[in-house]
């Protein structure tokens, strides 16, 4: 009698476990295949866009340069004990676990791939045009082209590798480094010089004259 009761309880527990497993499996399959990828999507709360300043500017952009730079910052462990504790720390963090499996002496590493856009041209607000008509010629004197803006945005910034904890100012520092690299690339390619030709072209589009047009750049 007692044995019979134990058997019944055991059967009940097994059945309950099977029902539980089926329910869990069903829920898991639903989440995995039928709920769709929406749960992975970042949905921001609605917040207003604040206009802080409106400014009238006068910039003639004549050259656009799109560049990409890889910037990296690495920090190594200084002692054996640091390696041990650091690796253990990483192994207990789900985000850093994979780095803990490769204790290659790297304490922290942040690598960014940054895409940016540089605009060259002239700021006409700072230095005015000069129109010098003389006989059959019209001379326009314009300032030398310069770098007017460098656009480095979140959409163009990819965190390629993040090993260890990194602060915002450190990421911003790397982005500044990428910006400087792009400016250096522009200078190496002599882009301010190359921005002169399209500037001339833009002006010749606007100026319709019977006179001979001469466009000069300020020294």
């Amino acid at each position: 009698m007692k044995l019979q009761k134990i058997r019944e309880i055991r059967t009940l527990i097994i059945r309950l476990l099977i029902v539980g497993l089926i329910a869990f499996g069903g829920y898991w399959i639903y989440q995995l295949f039928f709920k769709g990828p929406a749960s992975d999507e970042i949905v921001l709360e609605e917040t207003p866009l604040k206009v802080e300043q409106i400014r009238s500017i006068l910039e003639l952009n004549t050259l656009k340069f799109q560049d990409e730079a890889v910037v990296d910052s690495v920090e190594y462990y200084k002692s054996e004990s640091e390696v041990l504790w650091g690796t253990l720390d990483k192994l207990t963090d789900p985000n850093q676990f994979k780095h803990g499996l490769h204790p290659n002496g790297v304490k922290r590493r942040l690598t960014l791939i940054v895409r940016g856009e540089l605009l060259y041209g002239v700021d006409l607000k700072r230095k005015d045009f000069q129109f010098l008509p003389k006989g059959d010629t019209l001379t326009i004197v314009i300032p030398q082209p310069e770098l007017l803006s460098v656009s480095i945005n979140p959409k163009g910034t990819e965190v390629y590798l993040e090993n260890g904890d990194w602060q915002d100012y450190e990421r911003a520092g790397l982005q500044r480094k990428a910006r400087n690299k792009m400016i250096a690339s522009g200078e190496r390619l002599k882009l301010p010089e190359r921005a002169k030709a399209p500037l001339e072209k833009a002006l010749r589009t606007l100026v319709k004259t019977d006179k001979t047009l001469i466009i000069k750049f300020e020294n």
Partner: protein
């Protein structure tokens, strides 16, 4: 022995997944000639707010507030002016202005700040990868909201003033500038 073999296999599997693709040092993408006159600059501020409730198998949630600033310049592309768009009649000139457009969009990384984070349950802190994804969404949101601002109208008006002054300096007495109808504008601000 069996356990040792099993552990070796697991380790081999985990380590073989850690391969990373090669990246290039610096790559030149494109140098393009343009002739765009930027006439209006807006400085915008936005608080990016994300409440991460996590997946169904995670316990706890995470909240983050980031503040950022964006500088947007708008203007008109002078190179789009065709020969037929300019008509000269003695001291009178008529010009058809190309549609205004967003020339540059800049979110200075130095002006991005994490104002607040709140992590509870078994969730991990926000990494730079997480913050980067949130900021990308924030950028998308700002670009979308730009359509509600008057930036393109103002850019067009300021370009008109420049064109009038430019031709008056050249000696024209009457300058007529025609704008592009609003329905013919390029509304793609995600350039």
């Amino acid at each position: 022995m069996k356990n040792w073999l099993f552990l070796s296999l697991i380790t081999l599997l985990l380590t073989s997944c850690g391969e990373e693709k090669e990246v290039h040092e610096t790559e030149i993408y494109e140098i393009r000639s343009i002739g765009t006159l930027s006439t209006t600059e807006y400085t915008l501020g936005k608080i990016i707010h994300w409440n991460d409730e996590g997946e169904w198998y995670t316990y706890g949630d995470r909240k983050i507030l980031l503040s950022c600033k964006a500088t947007v310049k708008a203007g008109v592309n002078l190179n789009a002016i065709k020969e037929s768009d300019i008509q000269v009649d003695g001291k009178k000139i008529t010009i058809q202005l190309p549609p205004p457009e967003i020339v540059s969009f800049e979110m200075d990384p130095d002006l991005v700040r994490t104002e607040m984070t709140d992590v509870n349950g078994f969730r991990s802190d926000f990494s730079q990868v997480d913050k980067s994804k949130v900021l990308q969404k924030g950028e998308e949101s700002i670009r979308k909201d730009l359509q509600k601002l008057n930036i393109l109208d103002e850019a067009e008006q300021n370009a008109k003033i420049f064109i009038v002054d430019f031709y008056k300096n050249l000696g024209f007495e009457q300058v007529i500038v025609h704008e592009t109808p609003k329905d013919k504008r390029n509304t793609n601000i995600d350039h």
